[in-house]
């Protein structure tokens, strides 16, 4: 028993002070109260007005006490569950827990067989989901692409229908509109065994994206209302670009992004008090020579750390970003940009870190980048886990027993800890030169490709219920019917 003894569990990282966070927090409240946002959804404006917002045509201004009430209602910790009850696949959101997964909606994909860049296809979805299911450090699923070879309104629905049977890890479901959301929800509810069962153990998170600067679009709000009314955990994440659609300064973009996200928070909590709400968004710079949103910029990591600390200050989990790159191929740039942002994201404890596997500034999804980043995440997680200091780990007795000139290889102490204290790589090569040469002198990129192909050849995700398969078929058939009629 020790008095006044402090333990650091894991590595300590903190960028902003309490005072700075309060300053940012008050900045967000100021923007929401005095500038407000455009909300392009009449019903939502009515709900917000009733909740105490000041509605002036499209413009909605929210007094800070209303925002604070909404913040108090939203939980900081909750669980998104594996659809098959596998506890290893549950995602427990809460302080100090960083989770990782791919992102959505890249138009292109690196073909798994040929490694060539081409449009993202329906047949890619199950492969991405199965790889996600197999990779040990990837915790949730998105598809890494927008399906190009189905009717253009049905991409999101086909995407979810392809992911759901191929991974039991929680899915973050992106969609175009309420029709998609309904179809997606029917599939998840069928597997859960009804709406009530789903509400007890939600298996997916609904993703909505408002527009920067300061616009809550009809679709984003309409999907939000659907999610809130069905008690589906919600991500409301803008994608402001510093210097383009947001202030150029990291503090400024954080304030604007938070205001955009918290408009969704206030609405969601008004409809469904206590709804799990994950704050967004993706914050980075506009490269002023290439005019792109840079996914490999150091400012992305900085801005994301700022918005993460603000979210945690306000008592919300955050939709983090990392493991992405502006590189066009699986090269050194991809490794540097991806690994550093993964590591920085892990340090912030940002709750769900997405876009792992994005290349070419989000234009191309790569499951090979995803696999390489799985390794970087494992590496980062070992570092952030830190060092345990206690009587047994101090090993003073063991040091005494072995003494000068001895060795530790046969000590029980070694056997007790070497598997948990050491991180073992899957892709990083530690063979000696001869063995490495004998194995074909492979580069990291070769090994990443090999690992994906091996996993796809061997890994079988757990199956969904037969009745869910029928629901998927019916939902897709009805959607095809709907788009045919509207044509």
């Amino acid at each position: 028993m020790r008095a006044n003894y402090q333990v650091n569990s894991g590595v300590q990282f903190r960028m902003l002070s309490e005072d700075q966070l309060e300053e940012l927090f008050n900045g967000v409240l100021h923007v929401l109260e005095y500038t407000g946002l455009e909300v392009h959804h009449e019903e939502a404006r009515g709900i917000l007005s009733e909740a105490g917002a000041d509605v002036d045509e499209l413009r909605v201004r929210i007094p800070s006490h209303i925002v604070k009430k909404a913040l108090a209602l939203a939980p900081r910790s909750f669980t998104v569950f594996a659809r098959d009850g596998n506890p290893d696949h549950d995602v427990h959101i809460g302080p100090g827990r960083a989770h990782f997964g791919p992102g959505p909606t890249c138009p292109n994909f690196i073909d798994i067989e040929t490694q060539e860049r081409r449009p993202y296809l329906k047949s890619d979805v199950p492969l991405v989901a199965r790889t996600v299911d197999a990779l040990p450090n990837i915790d949730f699923c998105e598809s890494l692409g927008t399906v190009s070879d189905v009717h253009h309104e049905l991409g999101a629905l086909y995407e979810f229908a392809g992911m759901f049977p191929n991974t039991s890890k929680p899915i973050v479901a992106w969609s175009y509109d309420r029709f998609d959301s309904e179809g997606i929800h029917q599939i998840a509810v069928a597997e859960a065994g009804g709406q009530e069962a789903f509400e007890r153990k939600p298996t997916y998170v609904h993703y909505c994206e408002p527009l920067s600067p300061l616009v809550s679009t009809f679709e984003a709000i309409d999907k939000l209302l659907f999610a809130a009314r069905h008690r589906i955990p919600l991500i409301f994440t803008p994608c402001p670009i510093a210097g383009g659609t947001a202030p150029v300064t990291p503090a400024g973009i954080v304030v604007q992004a938070a205001a955009e996200s918290w408009m969704g928070l206030v609405l969601a909590q008004a409809v469904c008090p206590g709804l799990p709400f994950i704050m967004g968004g993706v914050l980075s710079v506009m490269d002023m020579s290439q005019m792109i949103l840079a996914y490999g910029a150091p400012e992305l990591s900085l801005m994301m750390a700022g918005v993460t600390e603000l979210a945690h200050y306000a008592g919300l989990p955050l939709w983090q970003t990392g493991g992405c790159t502006d590189s066009k191929t699986l090269d050194e740039q991809a490794a540097i940009e991806g690994s550093l942002s993964v590591y920085f994201s892990a340090l912030t404890g940002g709750d769900l870190c997405h876009d792992v596997g994005y290349t070419e500034s989000a234009m191309t999804g790569s499951v090979f980048q995803l696999a390489m980043m799985d390794e970087a995440i494992g590496y980062a997680r070992r570092i952030t886990r830190g060092i345990d200091v206690n009587e047994d780990t101090l090993a003073v007795d063991v040091i005494g027993n072995v003494g000068p000139n001895g060795h530790y290889l046969r000590e029980k102490h070694t056997r007790r800890y070497y598997k948990t204290e050491f991180w073992y790589p899957n892709l990083c090569d530690r063979r000696n030169y001869e063995e490495w040469a004998q194995m074909g002198s492979q580069r990291m990129s070769d090994r990443s490709i090999g690992r994906v192909q091996d996993l796809l050849a061997t890994h079988e995700p757990s199956a969904i219920k037969p009745e869910t398969e029928q629901v998927i078929e019916r939902v897709l058939a009805e959607a095809e019917e709907r788009v045919k009629e509207s044509a």
């Binding site: 000139n405 060795h407 290889l409 046969r410 070694t414 056997r415 070497y418 598997k419 000696n432 030169y433 001869e434 063995e435």
Partner: protein, 213 residues
Amino acid sequence: MSEVLSKLATSIIEGDRDVMPGLTQQALDEGLGAKQILDDGLMPGMDHVGKEFRAGNMFVPEVLRSARAMQASMDMLRPLLAETDTKMVGKIILGTVKGDLHDIGKSLVAMMCEGAGFDVHDLGKDVAPEAFVEAVKEYEPDLVGMSALLTTTMRAMEQTIKALEEAGVRDTVKIMIGGAPVTQEFADQIGADAYASNAAAASEMARKLVGAA
């Protein structure tokens, strides 16, 4: 295969040293010969361990625990094998060469070779050429293993080989060398018979050199 032999093999794989003497006694009581217990009980267990280690499914501390379990049985079998003049896989003397105090790599090789069924005499570290010569005369090994971690002490390997030549015992043994700065080229240059780049490769090479693999 008799049940007790497969139990011996399994216990080696699991590294369960405590059950080995009992199982070995049981095998002897059932009328099995020491040589058969070694060949059909212990070695299949260690072979499996070696394979799993190379595949990355087992790690050094587990391999050493298995080797220790095997030794618990070998302690009982060794006198019996000697009585019937049955050879072990082979006999090996090992040492870190003169001037070099680095022990861990050589100790690993010793333990891995024990696991591979060798009778191992570890001479320790900072072993002078004369001490190698003495040991060769005393133990009459099949193999001499030398280790060095420093480029400055590598040359002592060559001096040791020369000393063995001068004593007239060079041709009674095969010589293998290893250590971080050592290469195949260096082994060729100084007239060693073999080089291994790590402990697992060394025990494999040792078995190859005595014709057991």
